[in-house]
């Protein structure tokens, strides 16, 4: 039995492991909505083409118009997702917008076979309405797969949340007053360092109040062990981190 986690690891033939993060129902529903809107727009374009053909072709016009409209709707309904996922390496426009991608169980990209199966099975996942079956299946499955994914051997992963920037320097820098009381050597546990680095990297997105709230949970433990004290919990963690990571020159 796999552990319940949203991270799936793949081992390459080079014996290196890379990981994908599974996408949950919320971003997938939004991606589906984006795709549905695009399908409606494309459908309107098909109708416009059908109308133009109907007007310009005289006697056969209504027939050609009907054939174009009906075939177009059929292709959009059953073929849109299949063609995009097979062609765009597991992505529809909606999935591109949300940073989602369909990958095979072994981490490879989907081909025609997988794309066809998982999208035909939409007919079962969408039952009785609004993807209730698919949602229940996702809730039960440790890899958040709907029926179509189970049958096709695929899963949907989320990409594009990482970046390469350095961990920002603390702001403001260590003041002379703070430096006077800072211990010469501070040792942080690896987990503590990771948490503080994570906070530093995400501080601008979280906002000062939330950062302080989160910092308050870790600061007492760090303060007790290292003896570092700042004006706020967040400042305590920043000072401890700078001394532990940058050493004496911080």
């Amino acid at each position: 039995m796999d552990p319940v986690d949203t991270v799936v690891a793949f081992e390459t033939p080079e014996r290196v492991v890379f990981r994908h993060r599974l996408a949950g129902p919320a971003p997938r529903a939004v991606a589906w909505l984006v795709d549905a809107l695009i399908q409606v727009l494309l459908g309107l374009m098909v109708m416009a083409v059908a109308l133009l053909a109907g007007i310009s072709l005289g006697e056969l016009g209504t027939g050609v118009a009907g054939a174009i409209a009906l075939l177009g709707v059929f292709m959009l309904q059953w073929g849109y997702a299949t063609v995009f996922e097979a062609w765009w390496r597991g992505q529809t426009p909606g999935k591109v917008a949300l940073g989602l991608r369909v990958v095979r169980r072994d981490g490879g990209p989907v081909g025609w076979r997988e794309a066809l199966l998982r999208n035909l099975l939409r007919a079962a996942d969408a039952l009785p309405s609004l993807y209730v079956v698919g949602l229940v299946t996702m809730a039960v499955d440790p890899r958040l797969r709907r029926l179509g994914d189970l049958v096709a051997g695929t899963m949907v992963v989320a990409e594009g949340r990482g970046h390469l920037e350095d961990t920002p320097a603390i702001d403001p820098p260590v003041t002379p007053a703070e430096r006077d009381v800072l211990p010469a050597r501070v040792r942080l546990l690896p987990e503590e360092r990771a948490v503080i680095a994570g906070l530093l990297r995400r501080a601008h997105a979280l906002g000062p109040l939330r950062v302080e709230e989160l910092a308050a949970r870790l600061a007492p433990q760090v303060e007790a062990r290292t003896g570092v004290t700042g004006q706020t919990a967040w400042r305590t963690l920043q000072l401890a981190w700078v001394r532990a990571v940058r050493g004496a020159d911080a």
Partner: protein
């Protein structure tokens, strides 16, 4: 590990990684590009291992993971071919699969045709029995539709009807397959229900004497359409069986083993129903004399049988 090493490491490698991220966006063309991408991939693998050892920040590792996933896709993924090989695939692989899944296909036939015979006999005996399944209004409508020979459709109507038949009938076949996911029950239901309905229509029209008109209309496309529905039902049964009867495999393993078979059957069904729609739209209601239509229908039965029984044999 020393975080300063980690930062120095990222700074040293960053431009190389970003170049690789750009490169991997375009498809690989030619041996030179492939080996260049492979070099980039091997370097990235080493870097990824080093990044883990140096304990890079979570979102940095994540960026590298994403990149590794994309390069891995390009290098090891199947190359998507868009050409004419699918014609050969339909000609050879689909009939092979139909014969390999012979028992299942025969079962699907039985599930469609036995209820059809029962429905036909019942409706032939008494209108009351027919009305259990179809409302008097729809029976009336059928009667009026086939009161005269179906040979007065205009060319414009033909084209529009072709589009309608593709959308409606291929859609039915796809649903017949997809609902097989509940242990095959959905497919069984669709097969039996469709069989009953078309049997009742036949029996009812035979009783009121319109059968020749109906046969004139359906003879041309019937073999393709009905066999297409049967194949989609067989695919649904295969899907249901793979879930219920796993022969000691895990669920995923069982589905994986059944996948190629399902894809061939469903694709074959879609192709057959599209052929049926072309005939049904353009030929079946045209003013061609009845003997020609019936003869053409007989030829179609032979063509379908020859394809499914003989296609792909060496």
């Amino acid at each position: 590990m020393n975080p300063e090493d980690a930062e120095a490491f990222v700074r040293a490698r960053r431009s190389r990684w970003e170049a690789l991220a750009l490169q991997v966006r375009a498809p690989v063309r030619g041996a030179e590009e492939a080996s260049e991408l492979a070099r980039g991939w091997r370097a990235l693998c080493a870097d990824l291992a080093e990044a883990r050892r140096l304990d890079l920040a979570d979102d940095q590792i994540r960026w590298l993971d994403d990149l590794a996933g994309r390069v891995h896709d390009r290098l090891y993924g199947p190359r998507l071919r868009v050409g004419t090989q699918w014609i050969r695939w339909l000609r050879d692989e689909v009939p092979r699969e139909v014969r390999r899944s012979g028992a299942l296909v025969l079962w699907a036939h039985a599930l469609l045709y036995l209820p059809a015979v029962a429905g036909a006999l019942a409706a032939w005996q008494s209108p009351e029995l027919a009305e259990i399944l179809l409302s008097p209004q729809s029976l009336d409508q059928m009667e009026r539709m086939y009161a005269t020979p179906a040979n007065d459709r205009t060319a414009a109507d033909n084209l529009a009807m072709f589009g309608f038949y593709v959308m409606n009938n291929v859609g039915i076949a796809f649903r017949c397959f997809a609902t097989g996911v509940v242990g095959g029950l959905g497919s069984v239901f669709f097969l039996v229900y469709n069989g009953l309905v078309f049997g009742v229509v036949y029996g009812h029209l035979a009783r009121v004497g319109h059968l020749p008109n109906l046969l004139e209309f359906v003879s041309g496309h019937g073999a393709w359409e009905l066999t297409g529905i049967v194949l989609s039902g067989a695919a649904g049964l295969r899907l249901g069986l793979a879930i219920v009867w796993r022969k000691g495999r895990t669920l995923a393993g069982s589905l994986e083993a059944a996948t190629p078979s399902m894809v061939r059957l469903v694709a074959g069904a879609a192709a057959m129903i599209t052929v049926a729609a072309v005939i049904e739209g353009l030929w079946s209601a045209s003013p061609i004399p009845r003997p020609f239509k019936l003869g053409f229908g007989a030829v179609q039965v032979v063509v379908v049988l020859a394809w499914l029984m003989g296609g792909g044999r060496r």
